[in-house]
Subunit: 327 residues, 2 copies
């Protein structure tokens, strides 16, 4: 039985709790929170909620600690900190800062004699794996990644910062025509605008200037200016009823050529269609938590990513079972 601790109980932490329920070789031991533990109600009978400070004293009762903080400020501190005392898994997703995060975590994990898996999830994570496999198999080719249809938390936050906006949600949507061209191996040179569109559902405050809000959103640098953006004004009730989910997904496509004269074309496509971004991310993390515990039991230490972990470690099945059933 793998005894799991969860650090941070937001959408991702709750997703981890749900994932543990589906994996019979795992049990939730404790949830750690920076809030008042008494104010946090979890779903799992028999698991406890403690203050985050208590975690360190429980290193003998927890086989793997899953870090559910944010990538901006929490994980850069937390993952190296806890890797000294625990086998840990995080889903650090600031792509550009992964090399730096890796170095910091690797040092701490090695000093602690632990395994730390970083950037487990779907992007980074399953998408990264598919980029690597497809590139290794088709060295002569082109990559494209499309995201959506799904909710972008960052863009939704940006909308809500506009004056006169009470609430809002943004969907990132891949452009069908671009997707088809890539899928057909046409290797199109696509601008940012040609790959994705952005659709916003905005609840205005009473008496707000809708036209000004729409223009402000559409011209917001970095977030919307480079995209074709549509803005729909709706009521809070409509937003709650039709846009309360956190769906996401996307496509990783590699097209490439083989043959002595590059005469044959191939397309490798991996796609996800997810009702709940945090729950799917949590499900990936749970599988990598299993892998981390197994690798630690073999004496392996240091920071690992999805690239460094043999697939068999993720499955509860034995090598014999995997070969007989899935190969």
């Amino acid at each position: 039985m793998i005894r799991v601790g969860i650090m941070g109980y937001g959408n991702l932490g709750r997703g981890i709790e749900c994932a543990i329920k589906q994996n019979p070789d795992m049990e939730l031991k404790a949830v750690f929170t920076r809030r008042n533990p008494k104010s946090v109600t979890i779903l799992t009978e028999g698991a406890a909620v403690y203050s985050a400070e208590k975690a360190q004293s429980m290193s003998n009762e927890i086989d793997v600690l899953i870090l559910c903080g944010g990538s901006a400020t929490d994980l850069p501190k937390q993952t190296p900190e806890y890797a000294r005392y625990f086998t840990v898994v995080d889903s650090f997703d600031t792509h550009a800062k992964i090399p730096e995060h890796f170095e910091n975590v690797d040092k701490a994990a090695k000093e602690g004699g632990n395994i730390a898996v970083i950037s487990a999830g779907w992007d980074p994570g399953m998408f990264s794996l598919n980029r690597l496999y497809a590139n290794a198999v088709l060295p002569n080719g082109n990559d494209d990644t499309f995201w959506g249809k799904g909710v972008s938390q960052g863009h939704s936050d940006a909308i809500r910062r506009v004056a006169g906006v009470a609430d809002g949600k943004q969907y990132t949507i891949p452009v069908d025509k671009a997707l088809e061209a890539v899928r057909n191996g046409e290797n199109p040179q696509l601008s940012t605008r040609e790959k994705h569109i952005r659709e916003c559902f905005v609840v205005p405050e009473n008496g707000a200037d809708l036209d000004r809000i729409e223009q402000e959103i559409k011209h917001m640098p970095n977030y919307f200016a480079d995209y074709d953006t549509t803005v729909h004004f709706i009521t809070q009730e409509e937003l709650n009823q039709n846009h309360s989910g956190i769906p996401h997904g996307g496509f990783v496509i590699r097209s490439g050529k083989t043959g002595w004269n590059e005469e044959n074309s191939h397309v490798i496509e991996y796609s996800l269609k997810l009702d709940s971004n945090p729950e799917f991310t949590a499900s990936v993390i749970a599988a990598y938590a299993r892998a981390a515990c197994r690798m630690k039991a073999e004496g392996i230490t240091g920071c690992k990513t999805v690239f460094d972990i043999a697939p068999a470690y993720l499955s509860p099945l034995s090598g014999e079972e995997l070969r007989a059933r899935m190969l």
Copy 2:
């Protein structure tokens, strides 16, 4: 530089030769054949063609020997035999016999102090990987694999054994409706007939009874009787002109539920669209040949499958490069 030997120079062997050309860290050292070496012309300048018997004496000149024989009779003998002397990779694809093949090869490879990668290709191979990853991530779900559109060598051979048939080719085609239902997470219970159709292009001998041929094909047990099969009679010229390729592909789809009450659905889909089945298989093998050589250099021995090999081993890029570019 990884020095590669190819055992057997048919479609797959030639595919390996083409794949080596695309991988700057590999060079083709020699092709071994059971035919008269003088009768075999290869594409690579500077590589030699030898009789198969000569291979064993060249174990110091070759880092990895790729076995391109058939799964029915060649590989069950060849892979254990050569694993004693070489790091080897095969694409053994008789799914039901993989466990037995694994045991035989594992023993030989360990005795020889070598690595032997078996069943590298796309199914088994990339499809297997995707089944494993998707099952580990979504333990509560359903799998489906569809093949095609593509040429089935076994079914084409079966057509050509029918009396009165001069030549023929068979395409396996997934049924769109079934694919859509699986993709939509409907978890349909699909019969063999509902998943794939079989389309045959047949060149009859002069004066052959076309109706008898068509009935004989359509009712052939195991091969066609359980499928909706269409038979088109065409000329040898049409066959040569329109059906000389060896395309293939398919879809691995897992749909699953997450959430405390299984309230959220997810679909993971991996698909391949391949102009040349043997060249793509060869491209996968080439990547695993690189992995095998690296693992051997680390002192790892025994039989391995795609499940046992960490993805990073497949790529010519370093860990740092992979994290910076692909994670």
